[in-house]
Amino acid sequence: MTAVEPKTVPGEVTTFQVASPHLEAVVRDLAPALRLADMFASGGDATTLRLVWANDTVGQAGYVITETPLETGVYPALSDVAPAAFVEECEIYEQFGIRPATGKPLNRVMLPPHAGPPPPGLPTLGHKPETEPEEARAQHTVGGHAFEFPFGPVRQVGVESLYYGLVTSGEEVVDLYLFTWHKHRGLEWRLRGKTPQQALFFAERTEGLSAVALGWALAAAAEAATGTWVPEAAERTRAVALELERLYNHAAAMAALCQSTGLTVGQSAAEIALERLLRLNAQAFGHRYLFGVVAAGGVSRAPDADAIRKILPDAYGEFERAADALLGTNSFLDRLEATGVLTAGQAKVLGLVGPVARASGLAADARQVPGGPYGNETAIATGTAGDVLARFTVMLAEAAESVRLIGRFLDEGTAEGVAELPRTSGAGLGWAESPRGEALAWVELGDDGRITRARLRPASARNWRGFDDACRSQNVFTDIPIIEASFWLTVAGMAR
């Protein structure tokens, strides 16, 4: 055991050093009480493993980071203790060439299997994997009457490249695995050497549909690293943009649900609401997808409050009318109910976030972390069924709460303002609740104030790992697009 037991402080990030021999025991202690929010490595020859733990308890919300210097190319197989760590174990192997001590098979997450050990030109961090590439892909067993049905990466629905490995006996989904590496852009690699302000451009484009959330998380990380205080009015401006982002995303998810269930008129109704919300974004902040609002140290512009007050009620009215009509359509609800079920236990073990986790009964929400503009008045919508319908109703409740919050923030005052970040070394963690769930960013700055290591963890990077479980829960082929729409994830966020 460690001399000091890691504990969270509400609203704070507490960092503890954990020696490598004690790491497994610490993870065993923390996993039942806290959520493993992220795991990543940094450094070159002297690699440090960092685990980010979140306390989701209302009033106690905060983060703990454990730092473990690794002297060798291996570390304990943490996913055996905390399954939420598996995807990151795969990623760390690809980026740094270090792997769990048990030598367990790992999937390819970022780099394609045929790439082999990273050749020059492929974005990577650290040194090369020392093991042959065929060991870097977990084998999927197909037996009995089941067969594997390859689907993607180019698909009719969904503009992002995503490969489904569907194992089926004809109609029922027996197993499903995903290849998400087709659009890997090496963004964490690209951020090295950039100033936080330069890095924001890339953070916003990591997952364009979460531009505000990821931008805010990265900016907050840099502000924490440099001890920069952001004016409260600027924080509220970020929150207005973030809630507008949530609104248009939930409208888009509703349209996708209609499309996946073949309800064309419902899809059009939801897309009318979506288009109005996007136009509102453009009028309020000068960009339909809210790019460029967040700046390192504040915000680059104040919202057009009059435009929001004038347009939002009508735009949200479209959203509400479409939602009400859908909730009154039995043939639509029948497709959603008991489809893609995830239990609270599954969501907790996998460390899922956002509406997906909340629909299963876990009230995790980064807006609850004390210290931000939200205070403790945000209503967190949860469900219990964990199915597509629960996710849909959680999104509808969140949209209503977003409208209320936007009004509150505008009344309290919003303003443009950027505090200059000092050029100093340091490290910090930042977070924001994106429409898909908690987005995290961690940055380490050198003496010149430039990034030496950045970690971006969009909510999609957490929640895709729950998608295959949801699809396997007694669903058939045609349920998969419905489940995918209800998760409302991006491949870009995973394959950053």
Binding site: Q198, V265, S268, A269, I272, G286, H287, G292, A325, S331
Partner: protein, 112 residues
């Protein structure tokens, strides 16, 4: 389903008349920059090339080469040098010839 059919008919057409008529929302869209050669010095051009996050700008001796195809209309150049750069207001940029998207802007005081 019948109710949805009626609902759709009742809602009517919501699309705008664009391109026959200008779209009212176009005014609030971010648009690529337009450069004022008379205010563009070589130092300013170098500064703009340095801050452009998508590599759309570089200086080639006496001209600033602007690749509209690489520009994301992020507005960083206009914010950096408001005297030399303004937003163009132009967003209809489609072309069948890639070279049309490469603009060469003379730097002040130096012949092209």
């Amino acid at each position: 389903m019948t109710l949805w059919f009626i609902r759709g008919l009742r809602r009517g057409v919501v699309t705008t008349r664009y391109p026959a008529r200008p779209d009212a929302s176009a005014a609030s869209l971010p648009t690529p920059p337009s450069f004022r050669p008379q205010a563009l010095t070589s130092q300013t051009a170098d500064r703009l090339a340095l801050i452009c996050p998508s590599g759309a700008l570089h200086r080639d001796r006496r001209v600033l080469v602007y690749d509209v195809g690489r520009c994301t209309a992020c507005g960083r150049c206009a914010a950096e040098a408001p005297d030399a750069v303004i937003r163009s207001g132009e967003f209809e940029l489609a072309t069948t010839d890639r070279s049309v998207l490469i603009k060469k802007i003379p730097v002040r005081g130096e012949a092209l």
